[in-house]
């Protein structure tokens, strides 16, 4: 596999790319927080929040639809919220008989459902932009500066480095299984579910052993290169004046967004 097949970073030299990763992480989290805090049915504020996403993607030279195209990952989960349509007191919109159940959709229910889906959809888009404009090691440095425990950051950094290697190994196992398994045209495989699970379990066990042994080699190779438990960086990540300005500007916009959201509902 190509090393960058999993990585979502889009190389660029834009304003957003050069922003300090701490600013990007904090603003992204605050943006998501702001979405959660906006009241149900604050359509104008939701639209403005999407405008902020478009502005960010424009400034990042990604093209306006970049985040939109990738933002549908979280939508299947919306099913978990569908029930709220029938479950809040309010003006009945339509009733629906389904076997023994009598479902009544209310206006407050529909508004809450739409708001939940929009909040999720906006939040996912901003997180996509964060990953697309920030190298993963920079993201890790940001987390370290933001007081995430060093041990956890170190493990996640290692995980990221070996993600590609180990998923490659997993793909090789799956390819080997495919090559040795017949499959009918309908796509149905032979054998029972328990048998399929046992084969899969053997593959998982095999993958574990290979990973375990590889981690030994990794450690020895790192010792040979002077590893003493510390990670060094040649990028010191110093907050510049423009980082502070852009960060403060973004926070101000989010505060404004909250004001708009609350006024629109009142």
């Amino acid at each position: 596999m190509q090393a960058n097949a999993l990585d979502r970073y889009q190389t660029g030299e834009s304003l957003i790319h050069h922003l300090d990763p701490r600013v990007k992480v904090v603003v992204t989290v605050l943006f998501i927080l702001s979405n959660v805090l906006l009241p149900d049915g604050a359509w104008l504020a939701f639209a403005l929040a999407w405008g902020l996403i478009l502005l960010t993607s424009g400034l990042a030279d990604l093209g306006l639809a970049y985040a939109l195209k990738r933002s549908f990952v979280a939508l299947p989960f919306a099913l978990a919220a569908v029930t709220v349509v029938f479950n809040l007191p309010g003006e009945p919109l339509f009733a629906w008989k389904l076997g023994p159940w009598h479902l009544v959709a209310t206006d407050t229910g529909v508004i809450r459902f739409a708001s939940i889906v929009i909040r999720t959809w906006l939040s996912v888009q901003m997180a996509i932009l964060l990953t697309a404009t920030t190298r993963f090691p920079d993201l890790m440095h940001a987390l370290q500066h933001l007081r995430v425990p060093q041990l956890l950051v170190a493990i996640i950094s290692f995980m990221y480095r070996y993600l590609f290697v180990i998923t490659d190994e997993a793909m090789r196992l799956m390819r080997a299984r495919e090559a040795r398994s017949a499959r009918s045209a309908s796509g149905a495989g032979g054998g029972s579910v328990a048998w399929g699970a046992r084969v899969t379990g053997n593959m998982v066990g095999q993958l574990f052993l290979r990973s375990y042994e590889r981690s030994d080699r990794v450690y020895n190779a790192m010792l040979a290169r002077g590893y003493n438990g510390q990670f060094l960086t040649i990028n010191p990540h110093v907050m510049s004046a423009s980082d502070w300005t852009i960060g403060a500007g973004a926070v101000a916009i989010l505060v404004l967004l909250q004001a708009v959201g609350r006024m629109a509902v009142l």
Binding site: L33, H102, A127, A154, M171
Partner: protein, 329 residues
């Protein structure tokens, strides 16, 4: 060839496991409460592991976190076009020990959220709690209870523990969704538990098969890590969480009104969802909770847990004997 397998593989990643809560689905108080719980547990974990694990363990845990991520991609077809795959909490806990297991699972969930937007950032605390911490507590606690037993007993308990760990995660997820005012209790609990009762079977089968494979090829990896294994307190914690799952799951499925009343009395619903949210009106969806499915499910859960408890209690009673015989040999 290369490209064919490549697209196949990316589509595997796109398949979203049902437990990764995205941002926007939990109310702020619930999301923050989960973060606080997750941070407390992780802080204890980091403190403990810094004492017991050297810098040598960092590459090991990082690579094994990548292993869990990759292992979740390996799937097998189940009926109806769906596929079974591993979540890995119980397996990680059993193979790595509870502390390392929790760190590894938290890392996996962090990378899934940061890199793939699989699960939200503000709700990451909840996702770490549900899929990383609860699964490890249940999985390890039950398995630790039968540590000295024969191979087959350990494997059976590992399977039950894996199944229960998935149920624990699903139950916690649905309770958080309910308390956030995102889902109706009487629908989300039976649906989530029903779906995950099936997913959990896949989890149990894969966990048992993987463990059996490791026991056959490298048994030393599962035996020789005394100090990172953790003491007997884990069994108690695991049993408490498991018992909470098996008592709450049928209660929430069969008698959601009772659970709702408790939550209202405790002030949870108002706090979790704000003043606009009122008690669910009775006319909406009556009695989904009393379907045959949830009753059967409750029965199955009960039977399984009683079985595991018997094994563990028998083991506890026999423990001094095995301990002396081990030191004797």
């Amino acid at each position: 060839m290369h490209y064919v397998s490549h697209t196949y593989y990316l589509s595997e990643i796109a398949e979203n496991p049902a437990l990764h809560i995205p941002d926007g689905f939990l109310s702020l108080p619930i999301a923050l409460l989960c973060w606080v719980l997750a941070i407390i547990l992780l802080t204890i974990t980091v403190r403990r592991t810094q004492n017991t694990l050297g810098e040598r363990q960092i590459p090991l845990m990082g690579v094994l976190a990548a292993f869990i991520f990759a292992a979740q991609m390996i799937n097998f077809p189940v009926a109806g076009g769906t596929s079974g795959h591993l979540l890995g909490g119980a397996l990680a806990a059993i193979v790595l020990g509870p502390w390392a297991g929790m760190l590894v699972m938290a890392s996996v969930i962090a990378v899934q959220a940061l890199l793939f937007q699989d699960g939200g950032l503000l709700v990451m605390g909840a996702n770490i709690l549900n899929m990383g911490l609860l699964t490890v507590l249940v999985g390890y606690g039950l398995y630790r209870g039968v540590a000295g037993q024969s191979r087959s007993v350990r494997l059976v308990v590992a399977g039950v523990a894996a199944w229960l760990s998935v149920m624990a995660g699903a139950l916690a997820t649905s309770l958080q969704l309910w308390l956030s005012g995102t889902s109706a209790l009487r629908i989300v609990v039976p649906t989530m538990l029903g779906v995950h009762a099936a997913i959990g079977i896949g989890e149990a089968l894969i966990t048992v098969a993987a463990l059996a494979f490791i026991l056959r090829t490298r048994p030393d990896l599962l035996e020789a890590k005394g100090e990172t294994r953790g003491g007997f307190g884990w069994v108690i914690v695991g049993l408490i969480v498991a018992l909470a799952v098996v008592t709450l799951a049928p209660l929430a499925s069969v008698n959601p009104d009772g659970l709702e009343r408790v939550a209202i009395d405790a002030g949870f619903i108002e706090r979790g969802t704000g003043a606009t949210y009122e008690v669910f009106p009775d006319y909406t969806i009556p009695l989904l909770g009393e379907t045959a499915l949830s009753t059967i499910l409750a029965g199955v859960v009960g039977a399984l847990v009683v079985g595991v408890l018997i094994v563990i209690v028998v083991n506890l009673l026999r423990r001094p004997v095995t301990a002396t015989s081990e030191t004797g040999s």
